[in-house]
Amino acid sequence: MPPRPNLRLEINGHPVEVPCPDERILLDLIREDLDLTGSKRGCDLGTCGCCTVLLDGRPTLSCLTLARLAEGRSVTTIEGLTPHGGLHPVQRAFVEHGATQCGFCTPGFVLTAVALLRDEPHPDRERVVRAISGNLCRCTGYTKIIEAVLAASGGA
């Protein structure tokens, strides 16, 4: 196989160029090569949603995405949600509603919720439940997470 050129993509608004074998998974690239450890490795099989990033704005399981297929695309991780620091309104709502316990699943939930509220600014409770149904939390029981997302939408 001929040597591959470096992978070029945009991470959190910044152009990045890194060596990348074909079999590299996007989550591994983000965590291990770029030291952005906000995206978590939970099940590593697409079940838990802890690794969720926004790929061209779309919530995506980074554990099931080949890094090479993000070539030329834009990736937003939890670190890049507020480029100038501070908390995103969804993050603030999570804090205010106690929607976090151990915090491991929180980045995935927040990014899923951010994309939901961008596309549907005022979802009802059922819509929120459905939207976050691919993100697992083993601590909170979901009630506070749902309340936080509804609050961030101005609907609680």
């Binding site: 196989m1 074909d22 998974i25 697409g46 949603g49 090479r68 691919g134």
Partner: protein, 331 residues
């Protein structure tokens, strides 16, 4: 979990894709959304040295009301309200595939060609090594039905039955051209269970076509699974029907999640055409469906329970299609 090294290919046309696949015969897999293939690769389940990514093949991505490209994302089909209103049973099936995150990447073609599943297959390498590898991956025997000839892993896609009852056709491209056939003919129900389809080496599923009459059918899909927010089907039953003056003018039923291929129940449904779809006839048909299916003990729920539930879910799906009942998990 890291993947074993492979070479990734990124063709941009159907012709380039099938030529590449023919050249790499037996040494390559197609990569669609990756939500099924990559977990299997992580578990070292039959990884191959070449992967042909389909995401750059524009023709595969488009979808319209009567032709859906194999690389159409499930989430995009689900959010197309006009499409969903046209094919309510298919929309129910789409909405019940895994999770929204999986559907954001998962594709129509990927769901139709999803790898069959089994307790003894979908396990880690060490787990499988400790027991002895199975017929489906690196071994020579089946642990579910002990013998060495046939694999009983379960077909676990939701969309195949929902499309079968609509009379859908598949468009397939190969090195010598394109062909079309009924979607049911895609699946090899009489083989060894390892070879799951009638796709020749290198052939590519390009699109699914829905006949004009499909939008005039009343349809429903009912799915049994352990966790309603995520799991593969323990069974899924699709129904489509049309009535004229209170009598059935068309009736189709199909199921997935029960055997190693999706199955239609034409022999059971045909006698009902021309009759009124009364509760008694529906109950009798549902009983016959339950009697005819043969699940084995390779998924989470006990096969005897799945067999009983096949009757219950067939009845629910039939009544929902007859009455135009709204979608609902299992209801």
């Amino acid at each position: 979990m890291h993947l074993d090294p492979f070479e990734l290919h990124r063709p941009s046309s159907v012709e380039e894709t099938v030529a590449l696949a023919a050249r790499l015969a037996g040494a390559a897999d197609y990569l669609a959304g990756g939500t099924d293939l990559l977990p299997n690769y992580k578990m070292h389940l039959n990884p191959r040295p070449h992967l042909i990514a389909l995401e750059g093949v524009a023709e595969l991505r488009s979808h319209g009301p009567e032709r859906i490209g194999a690389m159409a994302r499930l989430a995009d089909l689900e959010s197309d309200r006009e499409f969903a209103a046209m094919y309510p049973g298919l929309a129910e099936a789409l909405g019940h595939v895994a999770t929204p995150l999986v559907r954001a990447s998962g594709t129509l073609g990927g769901n139709l060609l999803v790898e069959t599943r089994c307790f003894f297959f979908n396990q880690s390498y060490l787990w499988r090594q400790s027991l002895g590898f199975c017929l489906k991956a690196a071994g020579d025997r089946c642990h579910v039905v002990p013998q060495k000839e046939r694999c009983y892993a379960t077909f676990s896609g939701d969309l195949a039955p929902a499309l079968m009852v609509l009379g859908a056709e598949v468009e397939i491209a190969g090195p010598t051209g394109r062909r079309r056939g009924p979607i049911g003919s895609l699946y090899d129900g009489s083989g060894d269970g390892i070879r799951r389809t009638h796709l020749a080496p290198g052939e590519l599923l390009v699109a699914v076509h829905l006949p004009p009459g499909a939008r005039h059918l009343r349809s429903a899909y009912r799915k049994l699974r352990v966790r309603p927010s995520f799991d593969f089907p323990e069974l899924g039953i699709a129904v489509a029907l049309r009535t004229e003056a209170g009598r059935l003018a068309a009736l189709q039923m199909a199921a997935g999640g029960l055997e190693s291929h999706p199955q239609a129940f034409d022999a059971l449904t045909a006698p009902l055409v021309g009759t009124e779809p009364t509760d008694a006839r529906i109950d009798a048909l549902a009983e016959a469906v339950g009697r005819s299916v043969r699940p084995v003990h390779n998924t989470f729920l006990d096969p005897a329970y799945r067999k009983k539930m096949a009757t219950v879910y067939a009845r629910r799906a039939l009544r929902a299609a007859r009455d135009g009942t709204a979608a609902g998990e299992g209801s």
